[in-house]
Every structure is written in C-alpha cells, then in structure tokens.
Symmetry: C2
C-alpha cells in the first residue's frame, strides 16, 4: 500500500516518514521509501527512489535562480519523467508491503504542479496523510481550516486523505484540541458563537462538512514518541481493506 | 485600500503587482508597494516597504540551510516584527490610495505561517486576490478546487478573497474556461457526470458553494496585456464601498 505524507515545509513529513517506516519494519513489514523533495539536504532514511538523482534545487540556484524559482523549475524538469516515476513506484509497491512517499518540501509544489497531480493520478488508491502542525491552530476557525484542507487535497489529488495533527509531543493541552477535531458538531456549535465574518464562514463550512465527506477521523502523531503510529497503521489497513486492494 | 496578491510561486504575483500598480498610477492614484517575499531577487517595482531589509532567504542559505528551511526560517524571524510591519503598512495606507501587497513567493509561507496570518489580522478590510495559473485547470474538478481555494484563503486570513485566473494571455480557449468559472451551476451540472469519487466530491463541494459564500465573481487578468485591470479596480472599489471604508 502507498502512503503519501503531505504538508507544508516544517510540518514534519520527512522525520515522520523515517520513524513510521522504522516502526513498520520493526513490525515485520517490507518498507520502501520515496523522496520527492528536490530541496532536502539530508534524509533520515535511505530512499529506494530519490528525485534528487535527476535534479536538485541547489544545482538550479547555482545557475542563478532564486530559491522559489529553483524549486518550481526543478518540478518542471521532473514533470517530463512523471510516467517513469509512476512506473518505479509501482515496482516498489509490488516488492513491498508499504511504500512511503515523502512529498516535496513546499506542499504547493505538490498540489499545484502537474508533477504531483499527474503522479498521484497513477495511484488513485493511495492514502494521503495531511500533516499539520499545532501552531496552525490559533483560533476556532483554524480547526475548520485544517480539516477542510484535507478535503482540498482529496479534491485536488483524487486520493482519500486523512488529516493528522503532527508533533503532538509539543502540545500542552491535547485534550482541548481533540475536543474540536474529534467532534465536528462541537466545533460547529463553538463557531456559531464567533461574531466575525471569518467565524461565520467557518461555521457554514463546518456545518456542511458532514454532507460533503464521510466522517473524518483525525490522527494524532508524533515522530518523537511514536504516538499514533498504531492508529495510522490501522487507518491505512482499513483504507486498503475497504478498497478491496489489500493483498 | 489594501490589495494582497496571493498565489503559489510562479502564479505571477510580482509582475501583476508591478503592472497593476503602474496602471493605477497612470490613472492618477497614489500607489504604495509592499514586498513580503524574502526569496525574490529582483523586483519590477520600487517597494515602499521590503522585508528583505530585515532578512533574505539567501543569507540563511549561506548559513547552511536548504531552500525550504531557509524560506520558513526567514518568516520565523519576521514574525517577531509583525506589529512593526502592520504599523508601517497602516502608515502607507494613510498616504496612498492603494497599497499593493506582494505576498511571499511560496503561498503556504503566508497561509500557514503566523507571520502572514497575524499580519492580515491587522487588516480585516483588505481584499485578497487569489491568483491561479491556467495550468492548474486540467479537469472539471480543478475548477471547483480553484474557486474553493479562494474560500480557504478567506477562511484562513479572514479577508474577502476574489479568485483570479492570471496569465489569460496564454490561454487559447478562455471561453471554455469561463463557461465553468462564471457559472457555478453549469460547472456543478458538468461535475455530476463525473464517475470518479474525486468528481463526486467536487460535485458536492460545488453544489454547496452557493450556500457557503456570496456569489463569487472570478477575475481574468493579464499583466502582459492589462486585461482585467479595470475589473480588478471595480471589484476593489465595490469591496471598500460595501465595507463603508471608502475614503
């Protein structure tokens, strides 16, 4: 089965890929790692497939591009090899129990670039794990944003995506956060009290959520402590089971 | 009035900021420019306020960070000066008819980082212009994604955001695109024919759109030809008029 870790730069994709892979290996699974980040310097895992073999953001910066331009350009170059990468990932899928895909450092180069979109079109059964950091959650409407963003990834890439709060080891009041994320009705009721137009939009979006998508289970993960790894394994198993793709 | 151009790297924010600013100046308005991109090398306008005076992504890369890490770190540093920047923008607003904000190269460093979120909290009346490129629109569900993404920005930053297809000069069949973007009912009907789960999600999201947000008018812009500049000016005017903030 294929798991794609998706999230903004700094959301912890790479560390989680390494640690969850280690966990799976220790539990007897065959794990393959795919790095899609052209801008990463060091990886804490040994990739079976690594786009940096083709191009790095650095080499393009050496040619005079700024960091933003270099990152985009690197995926322009990779886009010509999307079919080749899809084929290689398919081979890894055959040889492994899990293929863990560590997506580009900047989430938008995956969601908005044809490379990411076309690559994932080849794997409609993959499970997306949308990682967001606790810092994103500053006010009630942000909880709505986080859950909805998972749905946006689903819409864009065509893969079932589960939102996952990462780095929970850094959170003081996880109970307070879970009260919102685990119970969309509670969150909706809370948002109803917000007087701002932002609060009103969040209220409407959250109210519509149950009709828009099947009940969303949020995961709580920590690469540091291993918290939530069993849950993630279960969710991945259930996803593939339901699809009838469990081999 | 404050206009913030928001979009992924390569969506044309900087060029549009320059050209729309020029257009406004030529029409007699006093225009101020704000650059929030720590990674841009050359600007086609002279900024009245420029975050690169404080920090650049390069200087951090020289210290050993990769491009993704350097970009994030630069906004970590800027986050300590959010109040100062808000104050300076407020001053520019007093002296000018238009303040054009050219947001970070990578959209996610604006939407997910406290610097962007807290800065825009200081300007709830600003108008966001969400720029997306024609390449994003590959299949019907992508049109839904584009419109919904504008709503996500609204939800996150708390500012009214109008979606704008940029670089329309590069589009061959603009009529075909407008048929979807100008008529959400037509798009919804089209999505109903999609057999995939992705299509179903897009259909549900588009169906819900009229209840979630006021009718969304999409802009069609080109920095190259000046197409849509009058429309953008009108939308900005109407936005401030409705808010009662037109001075």
């Amino acid at each position: 089965m294929i798991l794609a870790f998706i999230g903004t730069a700094g959301s912890g994709k790479t560390t989680l890929t390494a640690e969850f892979g280690k966990y799976l290996s220790e539990n007897g699974y065959r794990v393959a790692y795919v790095n899609l980040d052209t801008g990463v310097k060091r990886l804490p895992y040994t990739p079976n497939l690594d786009v940096r073999e083709k191009v790095t953001a650095w080499s393009l910066m050496d040619e005079g591009l700024g960091p933003n331009g270099a990152i985009v350009k690197s995926y322009d170059i990779l886009a010509e090899y999307t079919g080749e990468y899809a084929e290689k990932i398919r081979e890894l899928e055959k040889e492994s129990d899990y293929v863990l895909i560590d997506t580009p450092g900047q989430m938008e180069t995956f969601l908005f670039h044809e490379f990411g979109v076309e690559l994932m079109e080849a794997f409609p059964d993959a499970l997306g794990v949308y990682l967001f950091s606790p810092e994103v959650l500053r006010k009630p409407s942000d909880f709505c944003f986080a859950v909805f963003f998972g749905l946006m990834i689903d819409l864009r890439l065509g893969i079932t995506t589960v939102p996952a709060l990462n780095k929970v080891d850094t959170v003081k009041d996880l109970g307070g956060i879970r009260k919102y994320l685990d119970d969309i009705d509670y969150l909706t009721a809370r948002l109803k009290l917000e007087p701002s137009t932002q609060g009103l939009l969040a209220y409407k979006l959250c109210s519509a959520l149950p009709e828009l998508a099947p009940p969303t289970r949020v995961l709580y993960l920590s690469a540091k402590t291993g918290e939530g790894f069993e849950d993630l394994e279960t969710v991945a198993y259930e996803h593939y089971c339901t699809c009838g793709d469990l081999t």
